[in-house]
């Protein structure tokens, strides 16, 4: 395949931009986490594009790209697991996965004083 490296980089830049947009603009925590995964994917794409770019040079370690991508995938898996567990804990605390809503602030302010949060107020 003779696609130039530039086009891989452009695709990666678009994916990263979309991820940043979702990360900054969306208020649903699940979508924010999905946007982070999107950004990690675009970073992987850059690494692989670089590795392929340098594959024709004798003696270069073009294997570093795939290895780094392996580690990124591993860390992404760990991050997704932790993030989703946090989302479950957040939902259990506030009954909502919406960031920055006044409702969640209110409940958070309620539950700051005791170490163990009190039973949440009746919420429809």
């Amino acid at each position: 395949m003779n696609v130039p490296t530039e086009h891989l980089l452009v695709l990666s830049a678009f994916l990263f931009g979309l991820g940043i947009l979702g990360f900054l603009l969306r208020r649903n925590v699940i979508i924010v986490l999905a946007s982070i995964e999107l950004m990690l994917n675009s970073a992987n794409l850059v690494l692989l594009a670089g590795s392929r770019h340098w594959a024709g040079v004798e003696g270069t370690g073009f294997l570093e790209g795939p290895i780094l991508v392996l580690f990124v995938i591993l860390v992404a898996a760990a991050e997704a697991a932790i993030g989703l567990a946090l989302i479950i804990a957040l939902f259990r605390l506030k009954q909502s996965v919406i960031l920055g809503s006044s409702q969640s602030y209110e409940v958070a302010a309620d539950s700051t004083s005791p170490s163990v949060p009190p039973p949440s107020p009746t919420r429809p």
Partner: protein
């Protein structure tokens, strides 16, 4: 042929990425993310990374996506949590706006930089041969991974272990135990008094009942209407 396929996959990845950001409901966002993963895996395959394409499908489309879908199904989201609530640009704090501007700058810089990368250095014949036989063949990859990068590899195993413990601690329901409450919350004891699908119920029960209204003395008044009658099943977690 492969080039056409690449551009198709790239366009698909971007379209699915737009879907991730723009979807109203998180479930559609995550399904769009699945499409992006498939397209990116196809791009990996076309660029000569067969092993990483398979890994991408296994780990991202298999494991992470199942985790996402599982959590979305687990959280009994109310209607207002399902809406596509979008932050408006004007209501963002200035620090976030500055960050967004910086990111947009990085994006434009990347595009400018990408247009000047130029042809790959080195011999095109060697590059073509290596790409044809796969840039991430398992034997060379493993040789490097287990010699020069053995320490990060072991650190990664430690990271996974810490993640496992951390996730269990985060997702575990830590409810205050009443005095004299000797009922075992762990190890697991099966639920008896809700009829259908006891195991499934026990898995989903902690998120289905948001209030900590169980087994303590608050009673059941604070329960939201979305609560299922499988009250007993939640106590096994």
């Amino acid at each position: 042929m492969a080039e056409v396929l690449f551009y198709l996959l790239a366009a698909g990845a971007v379209v699915f990425g737009v879907g991730v950001v723009a979807a109203r409901m998180p479930i559609f966002s995550v399904l769009n993310l699945l499409g992006t993963f498939f397209c990116v895996a196809g791009v990996y395959l076309l660029t000569g990374f067969q092993f990483l394409a398979v890994t991408q499908l296994l780990v991202y489309a298999g494991a992470i996506m199942v985790l996402f879908l599982f959590v979305i199904m687990l959280l009994n989201l109310h209607d207002e949590s399902l809406g596509g609530t979008l932050m408006s640009l004007t209501s963002l704090p200035p620090r976030t706006l500055a960050l967004a501007s910086a990111t947009a700058g990085v994006f434009v810089l990347t595009l400018i930089f990408a247009s000047g990368v130029g042809p790959p250095p080195g011999s095109a014949v060697l590059a073509a041969a290596r790409i044809d036989e796969g840039l991430d063949q398992l034997v060379p990859l493993a040789e490097v991974l287990f010699t020069r990068y053995a320490l990060p590899f072991e650190a990664a195993s430690l990271l996974l272990l810490a993640t496992m413990v951390g996730v269990i601690m985060l997702a575990k329901r830590d409810r205050p135990r009443a005095k004299g409450d000797t009922s075992a919350s762990w190890p697991w004891t099966p639920a008896v008094d809700d009829g259908a699908e006891p195991v499934q119920q026990a898995e989903t029960a902690p998120a289905l009942e948001p209030g900590r209204s169980r087994k303590t003395h608050e009673g059941t008044a604070a329960r939201p209407p979305a609560d299922k009658p499988g009250e007993r099943a939640g106590s096994v977690q």
